[in-house]
Amino acid sequence: MLLYAVIFLPFAAAALAAVLPSDRLRPWLIPITALLHFALVLGITATAAPAVNPNSLLGLDALGRFILFVVSLLYAACSFYALGYFRYHADWENRIFITALLAFLGAMTIAAASRHLGLLWVAVEATTLVSAPMIYYNRNRFSIEATWKYLLLCSVGIALAMLGILFVAYAGLHGGGEQELLLDQMLASASLYSKPWLRAGFVFLLVGFGTKMGLAPLHTWKPDAYGEAPGLVGGLLAGGLTSVAFLAILRAVQIMIAAGEQVLVRQMLLALGVLSLIFAAVFVIRQRDIKRMLAYSSVEHMGILVIGVAVGGLATYGAMFHVLNNALTKGVLFMTAGNIHRHYGSKRMCETQGALSVLPYSASLFLAGFLAITGSPPFAPFMSEFTILRGMFAGGHLVLGALFIGLLVVIFIGMGGTVLPVTMGPHLEETEDEASDYRETLLTIGSPLFLLAAVLCLGIYLPEPLKIMFSEAAKLVEVTP
């Protein structure tokens, strides 16, 4: 029952936002909906998982609960920033943006809760469509280009995922197994499936949802979309939507494991993961644009997640932990980058130097977020990356482990080359018309501050319920026997 409420709530709020006449009151719908949503999700995760009805289209297993928790937490934290954002842009039309923002939460919730591959597809495609107007919010040449690329690439990518789903269905038909695409039934009969169709289907699913997740070399929309979208949207896409796409890939992995096809899964995931790290390392160096830099960092972390799943064992647990850490830290980085962007009216490194002296809070949070995302202790991403690394060495992947460390170091240096001048460089004298009237407010600082505090706490002490949540989710996608 709670599940239906949690799905219904964001859509009801979106409908309300669409009809509410006041541009000033409408932003309040975001934090109210987000907090209610998070409360409901907490209510769901706090109770013991009920058995999922195998014939139902909707249901939350350990994996779905975990992703829903991550998305809802990030969204709730970002919602207060949204208030500050709309207060600054009080004269901008916000009806479409806020309606889309609320529907976005609803679509992600359905994706996390769907037990049918077709429904999962519908929900993921819906997230693409509702996020398009959010990327275009700044209404200029750059953002229209980013929106067009995002819309076309992700739609075609996700169409390939549909083909993959149909291939998997045909594999079932061929194997004489169940005809329905319900996850539980598929897991039960996957060993009978026709192997060639299943393998082809998995490749298409991986390419399709991998486009959405932004794994290299399918990431080309990512720097454009994250670069041009408002910081708030960038954070939600990089932290929330990618987690949902990761869940879609994990569903395909689950079916492949049930069919006994671990080898192909591992090879494909490893290949895409390592390629993502390499692409990120190449493009993050000398990256002049702070938001594009964050997009490449997102490509890197998507690579880390799939590598963790491919290695298996302890690394799968680490990957689950890393989903949470990546989401929270990306929230910090995109929101503070948004603040810096707003103050300088630019996101180019050469024009935003010395942010610490004018935006002390945003810049120091940005700097701390950079340290966190690159895996510096004592922040939580260090713990999860270290866990994945331990899994690699325990599994005997010495070369992979060394390559992993090497690429992370390159990315650390590359990002540092941009982040340090932006935050600590000499402050450029602004002329009168360049100086923006943007000042930090409690709302635009509070959200990233909260998220950074959470990342720091999780790095020092991981509560027991979260550990259980990670290990239960990891159990479902364990690759190694």
Binding site: H116, E125, L129, R141, I144, L151, S155, A159, P196
Partner: protein, 212 residues
Amino acid sequence: MNTPPNLILLFVILFNFFILGTSRLNTCIRSVALQGALLSLLPLFLHTLTFHTYLLAVGAFVLKGLLMPWLLFRAIRQVKIRREVEPRIGYIPTLLLGALTTAGAFIFGDRLPLLPEHLHSLFIPAALSTLAAGFLMLITRRKAIAQVLGYLMFENGIFIFGTLLAETMPFLVEMGVLLDMLVAIFVMGIVMHHINREFSTLNTEQLSLLRE
């Protein structure tokens, strides 16, 4: 071989070539719509005539044959563009590529491990060649609207394959898929309108400001 589904699929493949070789945008939109409308008849011949099959056929017909072309025509009326496709490579090379991929689809389609009842039918080759034709439209055309048409052909190819499996999808999900596509076309239409306003053209080669 001469069953109604195979006849329909033959026309679908012919439409692929026609669309690839046409320079007029209006004709292209009409052809893609007609192709979609033809495809919506497939479930009627393939499955037992239940309420579900009728609804799927009617839903697909209304969306693919009526609503989507209407949205696209509305979009080009709004932007008042020149009514030509403007390919990156000429029509003849595109047609040749189309012929090559279609031949490949026929050869490949026979090698796949198919169920006995799908062997030697046109389903797999038609699906694969329509996918390929859609992909060709996507990458060889400069105009945003032609790229949308390519995406629609791509979806038509997937629909052909999907009709073989209509029973695996509950009705709700099927309608969700079609609805998603409709909204996608709607949103793409709006974005095209904005592209035209910013750049005074729908030529996507203008969209090259963002790069490393």
